[in-house]
């Protein structure tokens, strides 16, 4: 998959970082615990012209802004019937349609049901802008893909955009990184998007049924896209969030910084969302004894860690610039000035970039750690909910 940006670190630094991150517990260069996020400051409602907006800053100065704009759009229909077509399930639906035509009249109800609920992934348009990178840069496109994939994965999000059978909201998400990308910006962008969606409100619908939509002028009456429970003021179901997780040695580290990514063995972008279905039953079962919520895995992407592109270190034994004064068997090394390029056995204190693929066990452990009840994903979602969105 698309790579994160190249980092320039010396082999000695990389070796140090790798060994300090491989300790138990790992020592991160900024002193955080393995599951700790960088402290951030957040606010919503910063762009008056949008339906919802948010801004998040890290202490190091990285900053992102997300604006959500909504527009009423006519739902695309086929000339011959009311089936909604979308790019994603075009084929499926075509097949369905064929089946339905074969199977005759009785399927009509089913199709209508489908029509009631369904949405299309092109109701959401998401653009990412990273300063210093082109819009069509592979990294930027990849970021956009990951973020939109998380939103569209289970189809639950687009259902919210439906107005009636003929109209829907089209949502434009503009995700801007304000500062140069000091670290891989995925967690920041995802958190900001999440917050902006939580703060998004759409005008209140006054018309009924399939007539042309007509809205309430009063912005104060506009409901949130993610409805709040009137009693608890809590969001019933929340937008997805994408977490960046990496593994070094046996340690699993959340929200890695640039230096940490530079020595990562595996990096995963895991998108999780609320599991709406499981929740009802589960709440009754657990009866509030477990504060954690049911999390649903929406998507996983592996991110190519920059560690694989880093230059290997040279052991003192192979270093022709080392120990000249001592004149200890440097003769052989003298003849191979390109010693730096040759791959050598692992030597303590010498950086060796990770080779080969990620182990399935490690990947499994990473995902497990994200999805654990009351774990990091839960706390991140709770913390984001705590931000004032009014």
């Amino acid at each position: 998959m698309a790579s994160s940006q190249h980092v320039l670190l010396s082999p000695a630094e990389l070796s140090y970082l790798h060994s300090s991150l491989s300790l138990t517990p790992p020592l991160r260069p900024d002193g955080r615990s393995p599951t700790q996020y960088r402290p951030l400051s957040a606010e919503t409602g910063i762009l008056p012209g949008t339906n919802g907006s948010a801004r998040i800053c890290f202490a190091d100065g990285t900053e992102a802004i997300v604006g959500v704009k909504a527009e009423v759009e006519k739902t695309k229909r086929r000339w011959d019937d009311d089936t909604i077509f979308s790019e994603n399930n075009h084929h499926q639906q075509q097949q369905q349609q064929q089946q339905q035509q074969q199977e005759g009249e009785e399927e009509n109800e089913g199709r209508n049901n489908n029509d009631e609920e369904g949405g299309s992934s092109d109701w959401v348009e998401l653009t990412v802008e990273i300063p210093g990178y082109r819009d069509d840069d592979s990294g930027t496109v990849f970021l956009g893909q990951m973020l939109s994939e998380a939103l569209l994965a289970d189809g639950g999000f687009v259902k919210r955009l439906r107005i009636n059978r003929r109209f829907h909201w089209k949502l434009f998400l503009d995700i801007l990184l304000i500062s140069p990308p000091l670290s891989y910006p995925l967690p920041l962008l995802s958190l900001t998007t999440h917050l902006a969606l939580l703060a998004t409100r759409l005008p209140k619908l006054k018309s009924e049924g399939d007539e042309d939509p007509f809205f309430d002028d009063d912005w104060a009456a506009a409901p949130y896209l993610y409805a709040r429970d009137p009693a608890t003021k809590r969001v019933a179901e929340r937008p997805p969030v994408t977490l960046l997780v990496m593994a070094v040695g046996g340690n699993i580290i959340f929200d890695p910084s640039k230096e940490e990514l530079a020595v990562a063995d595996v990096v995963l972008a895991v998108s999780v969302g609320d599991d709406a279905q499981g929740k009802g039953e589960d709440r009754m079962d657990v009866d509030g004894s477990n504060p954690g919520r049911n999390l649903k895995l929406l998507s996983i992407r592996t991110v190519d860690p920059p560690s694989r592109l880093t230059p290997p270190g040279v052991a003192n034994a192979a270093n022709s610039a080392y120990g000249h004064a001592q004149v200890v068997n440097t003769g052989a090394n003298q003849k191979m000035p390109e010693a730096r390029q040759t791959e050598s056995e692992a030597v303590e204190g010498v950086w060796k970039p990770p080779r080969g693929g990620a182990k399935a066990v490690v990947m499994g452990a990473l995902v497990q750690k994200v999805l654990v009840r009351g774990g990091v994903a839960d706390e991140v979602l709770d913390a984001l909910e705590g931000v004032d969105t009014s």
Binding site: A12, S15, R28, P29, G31, S41, A59, P311, N316
Partner: protein, 354 residues
């Protein structure tokens, strides 16, 4: 507590206490009735208003007219357009006034090299006879092959073999500590590493704290390099504060003494000996306690910068002592090395209180 979300705050501290109200009264009661033309610029009221952030009361952007009065002298960060007497800001920064001199101190600035500065730099490019080094300045500095200690003795002549093997000394990404030897007209710097103190860096952690204005960051001081004792079982640590705001914190290695011991060589041959290990990119074994203390020290440096304190020997040593004390009082004891966010604020508050 894996995540903390705070309400937004202003990222820069208020300007140092050469007070606005003070300069105000000065200006109005001053002879000649000179006035800085804030009101006509639509800038916020000069009078200190607690509702306004004091930072913005005399903040200017490039091209802002500061005063049309010819009795003021223009200082750094300002210019006078031809055929006028208007002092105009050329930077985004805060107006400072010393008697009749008006200057603008930038909010953020890159490092301007000066001869004799100790800098930490990162090699970004290897050319035929020199390296280009990133020192956080506007331009890359250059480090000529002739300005390094070649292995095998300080007095050796540079040969073609050395040119061919240039990458074995320093390659892309390597960190070096060097001194600014010479400046070009355009502000570009030439570095040298012809001393035992200088050369490739290893066994430690890097932190870049450059580009922050407003009195924080590394300042030129008497000692930029020192060795300090680690607490909580950590060994000795070396700290290098590059004037350019690049900081290196590493385990202290008694290279000289060790090699002299091994080789039974006199002090006269020391140069030769030391140059042996200077191009190594292999880390020495470092115990986890020392690693922890190195990380803590790095946390102190970044916390100081994030909270607008200057970084020098005194502040770092006091900050480190304070951080150790804070860790002792916390639940996890010395294992607690986190100094970001609110903990960093606590730390700097304690330091300022002293």
């Amino acid at each position: 507590m894996p995540i903390t979300i705070l309400p937004p705050k202003f990222s820069h501290p208020p300007p140092p206490p050469q007070d606005i109200s003070d300069s105000d009264s000065d200006l109005s009661s001053d002879d000649g009735g000179a006035h800085l033309d804030f009101a006509s610029l639509g800038l916020p009221n000069r009078k200190p208003n607690p509702a306004n952030n004091p930072l913005f009361t005399n903040l200017v952007t490039p091209g802002t007219l500061i005063t049309p009065d010819p009795q003021w002298m223009r200082g750094h960060g300002t210019y006078i357009p031809p055929h006028t007497t208007h002092i105009t800001s050329s930077l985004a920064g805060i107006i400072t006034r010393t008697n009749k001199l008006i200057s603008v101190s930038p909010l953020r600035a890159r490092y301007t090299p000066e001869v004799g500065d100790l800098v930490v730099g990162r090699i970004v490019e290897v050319q035929a006879k020199r390296w280009r080094v990133d020192v956080g300045s506007v331009q890359l500095a250059s480090l000529p092959l002739s300005a390094i200690n070649l292995p095998g003795g300080i007095l050796r002549k540079r040969t073609e073999t050395d040119e061919l093997q240039i990458r074995t000394f320093f390659a892309e990404g390597d960190l070096v500590v060097a001194e600014v030897q010479q400046l070009f007209q355009d502000g570009g710097a030439v570095l040298h590493t012809r001393s035992l103190k200088y050369g490739k860096l290893r066994n430690g952690l890097f932190a870049a704290v450059s580009g922050v204005g407003g009195g924080s960051g590394v300042v030129r001081s008497r000692r930029q390099v020192w060795t300090m004792e680690g607490q909580n079982g950590g060994g000795k640590m070396d700290v290098i504060l590059g004037v350019n705001g690049y900081v290196w914190i590493s385990k202290h290695v008694e290279q000289v003494a060790k090699e002299l011991e091994q080789k039974h060589m006199g002090i006269t041959n020391m140069e030769e000996n030391v140059s042996a290990g200077v191009y190594s990119s292999q880390n020495d074994p470092i115990d986890s306690d020392t690693m922890r203390e190195i990380t803590r020290l790095r946390g102190v440096v970044t916390a100081l910068v994030e909270n607008g304190c200057r970084v020098d020997e005194d502040m770092v040593i006091r900050g480190y002592a304070e951080a150790c004390e804070m860790a002792m009082l916390s639940e996890t004891g010395p294992e607690d090395i986190y100094l970001g966010g609110q903990r960093g604020e606590e730390l700097t508050r304690a330091l300022r209180g002293n």
